[in-house]
């Protein structure tokens, strides 16, 4: 069964460094999302991406965040200059079309900023 795949599973980075979290959505899916979950808190929406552009973003998704789909396969989340408070589990999700109600999630990348 096709799955959303995220790499790496765990990333440790120093404060101020740039990180790129990678996701491979299910191949025929058109809508892509990033969510994050700070330890002990709820899963929060960051950004949605459709037709090679951001379709919606939350207030969390400020200028230090960016997303792209460089090669039609990978879907990446870049954090330009990490802060301690960026430490969280980051989840990628995809769904096939606008009418589909089920989002398929990756297993997550745990980002630890030290």
């Amino acid at each position: 069964e096709p799955e959303v795949t995220q790499t790496p599973s765990h990333q440790v980075t120093q404060m101020g460094q740039e990180v790129i979290l990678r996701c491979v959505p299910i191949s025929n899916h058109l809508y892509f999302y990033w969510y994050r979950q700070i330890l002990g808190q709820k899963v929060e929406f960051l950004v949605s991406f459709y037709n090679n552009e951001i379709s919606e973003k939350s207030e969390i998704f400020d200028d230090q965040f960016s997303v792209e789909r460089p090669d039609g396969s990978n879907f990446t989340l870049k954090i330009r200059s990490t802060k301690l408070e960026d430490s969280a589990m980051y989840f990628c999700a995809s769904k096939p079309d606008r009418g589909s109600t089920e989002a398929f999630f990756g297993q997550g990348t745990r980002l630890t900023v030290v």
Partner: protein, 109 residues
């Protein structure tokens, strides 16, 4: 404002006991509501969606618009039901999910 509230962080029951995980929502339009489950060391996966009115693994959830609730129920809990359960609302033009804080269900033998 769009919001999902799960008032219980932890629900601890014995095997065979009934389970009800509470979820209340706030949404200005017609909501689409879901329950997602995350078993230990596994990814978030869809358990139920209200439009399907289905029963999955013995779980059911009924949307009550008057009480703005979507509680998840199972008459007889099993140990393998132990997991994190997240209630979620689908909103916005691009169908983002708005999650509740989650309830950890622990089913003891």
């Amino acid at each position: 404002a769009q919001r999902v509230t799960q008032p219980e962080k932890l629900l601890s029951v014995f095997k065979g006991a009934p389970v009800e995980l509470k979820c209340n929502y706030s949404y200005s339009g017609s909501p689409e509501l879901f329950w997602y489950v995350q078993y230990s060391r596994q990814r978030l996966q869809l358990l139920l969606r209200h439009i399907s009115r289905e029963s999955i693994k013995g779980f059911t959830a009924d949307l009550n618009k008057g009480e703005t609730s979507f509680h998840l129920k199972k008459p007889f809990a099993q140990e393998e039901d132990s997991a994190m359960y997240y209630c979620a609302l689908m909103g916005g033009g691009y169908n983002k999910l708005i999650f509740g804080a989650g309830t950890r269900l622990a089913v003891h033998p």
